[in-house]
């Protein structure tokens, strides 16, 4: 029973949502009841989903607090990180919930310019995000250096494509091949770069997308039909 009820909810909801995606939205209240019900499902499930998501945030927040409180209590080696995490968590939570510095009331925009949360966002979160994301440039550089080696025909093709795209995406690349005459302008590096992205890349992406989409559909069919083994169930896996 404990497993059957969630499975029934999953199957019914999924089938309703799939069917409703193909059903025309009724123009007026005279449409058949089933059609109106399906349109309702299509429209309202999103709202229910939003409400449920809030509870998921709550679960995550509670776990975060519990985990770090335990670490501080046990005086583990990471307890100072845990303390910083908890203090930051409480500050942002209080600042946001109390809508400090911003328009008050339920309708007040919690992120309005001038609000404390907006300041936390601009002064703390934004630079932290930018810093972490900018690390990508360094990691991409070192990963490219390691990966792009002309060891075989395939890897040489990959290397050549990478160089063309890298140069084609910057103005310097454009100047590098600007001397190529107009009748054969397609040989200019920016044109070659665009061609690589639009033709071979698109072909590869489409092939990948077809395979991935089929994988997703197959998993969904198994889940809806209740044939996907619940990984949380015990047993030997057979």
């Amino acid at each position: 029973m404990k497993q059957r009820v969630p499975q029934i909810i999953l199957s019914v909801t999924a089938v309703l949502l799939i069917i409703s995606a193909f059903i025309a939205r009724p123009e007026d209240g005279n449409a058949p009841y089933v059609q109106r019900m399906l349109a309702f499902a299509d429209q309202e499930f999103a709202t229910w989903f939003s409400i449920l998501t809030v509870f998921a945030f709550l679960l995550g927040g509670l776990n975060l607090v519990a985990t770090h409180l335990v670490k501080i209590r046990d005086r583990g080696p990471d307890r100072y990180y845990s303390l910083v995490t908890l203090v930051s968590f409480v500050i942002v939570l209080v600042v946001g919930m109390a809508k400090l510095g911003g328009p008050p009331g339920l309708q007040g925009d919690v992120t309005a310019p001038g609000s404390w949360l907006s300041t936390v966002f601009d002064a703390v979160l934004s630079p932290l995000h930018a810093t972490l994301y900018s690390l990508l440039a360094f990691y991409i550089a070192s990963a490219s250096y390691r990966a792009f080696r002309a060891r075989s025909l395939e890897s040489t093709l990959l290397l050549a494509s990478a160089l063309v795209v890298l140069l084609g995406r910057i103005p310097a690349g454009r100047y590098l091949t600007a001397w190529i005459p107009e009748p054969v302008a397609f040989l200019r590096v920016e044109e070659l770069s665009l061609w690589i992205l639009r033709v071979p890349n698109t072909a590869g992406q489409r092939a990948l997308m077809i395979g991935i989409a089929l994988g997703v559909i197959a998993l969904a069919v198994r889940m809806i039909a209740g044939l996907e083994k619940d990984p949380r169930s015990g047993g030997d896996g057979s």
Binding site: F22, G60, R146, L214, G215, L219, R232
Partner: protein
């Protein structure tokens, strides 16, 4: 009935129904005993050795189930891989850390690992805080996980599921501490980064085949066969469609133009 169908969706419904029917039929056949063989996936073959080496070196194993919630099929596929992995780690007597960035994923992952350790007879070894919620924010998540990897120096990092920019940040973190890295994602744009930084990678749809390859139950194997049949059908349609459109455009003859229009109607985008 035509008033019921949303405009412009009949072709998607038709192709979708065909795909679902073919997959459903293959699953049924497999459940009735038809044999389906699946080729071994090299990244999964490397898993046993990597787990054994990590545990022998006294280093933990890290598993990241992507950066999306349970409504993403890649996360579901990743969790299906977690179960056999957790069992392997438990049998070897190792520690498995699963940092998550969605609370529902944490809840599921914790239950999966606890049961896998119990199945392997090592319930005594398992600790619930090995599966932890870090942050919904993907960069906050990466910062914490990279920090943990740098301090704990895992011997094996398994990155499965949907990844965005965090893929390279995580993979380079593991690379830096010399961990064996096995990844799998159906996020096509992240594949190049994982291929560059990891030792073994499940490419695209292989992620969805991983659980079938590891545990091999009839429904999963059957649906794999269904996927292959659908791909075959897609390839036939691609070749036939290209020929029909080319011939119709060159000759302009009526039967070909009719066929061309039919093809373009069924496979039109949007």
């Amino acid at each position: 009935m035509s008033g019921w169908l949303a405009p412009g969706t009949w072709n998607v419904a038709l192709v979708g129904a065909f795909v679902c029917a073919l997959i459903g039929f293959s699953v049924l056949r497999a459940r009735r005993g038809a044999t389906v063989s699946v080729r071994a996936l090299p990244p999964l073959l490397a898993l046993d050795r990597a787990v054994a080496d990590a545990v022998a070196a006294g280093r933990p194993v890290y598993f990241v189930a992507g950066s999306q919630d349970l409504d993403n099929m890649q996360t579901v596929a990743a969790l299906a891989v977690l179960r056999p992995l957790a069992r392997k780690v438990a049998e070897a007597g190792g520690r498995l850390f699963v940092p998550t960035n969605r609370s529902l994923v944490m809840d599921n992952a914790r239950e999966i690992c606890r049961l896998a350790y119990a199945d392997a007879g090592r319930a005594d070894l398992w600790r619930d805080d090995w599966v932890a919620y870090i942050s919904d924010d993907h960069l906050g998540f990466v910062a914490r996980v990279d920090g943990l990897i740098a301090r704990e120096r895992p011997g094996l990092c398994v990155l499965m599921g949907f990844f965005a920019s965090e893929s390279l940040l995580l993979a380079e973190g593991g690379h830096q501490v010399g961990a064996v890295q096995i990844a799998g994602t159906a996020s096509a744009v992240q594949l190049p980064f994982l291929v560059a930084s990891c030792d073994h990678v499940l490419l695209g749809e292989e992620l969805f085949a991983a659980a079938a390859s590891l545990e091999g139950d009839a429904a999963r194997l059957g649906s794999l066969r269904g996927q292959d049949l659908c791909k075959l059908a897609a390839a036939v349609c691609l070749v036939a469609g290209s020929l029909v459109v080319t011939v119709a455009d060159v000759t302009g003859a009526a039967p070909w133009t009719f066929l061309r229009d039919a093809f373009l109607n069924v496979f039109r985008a949007g």
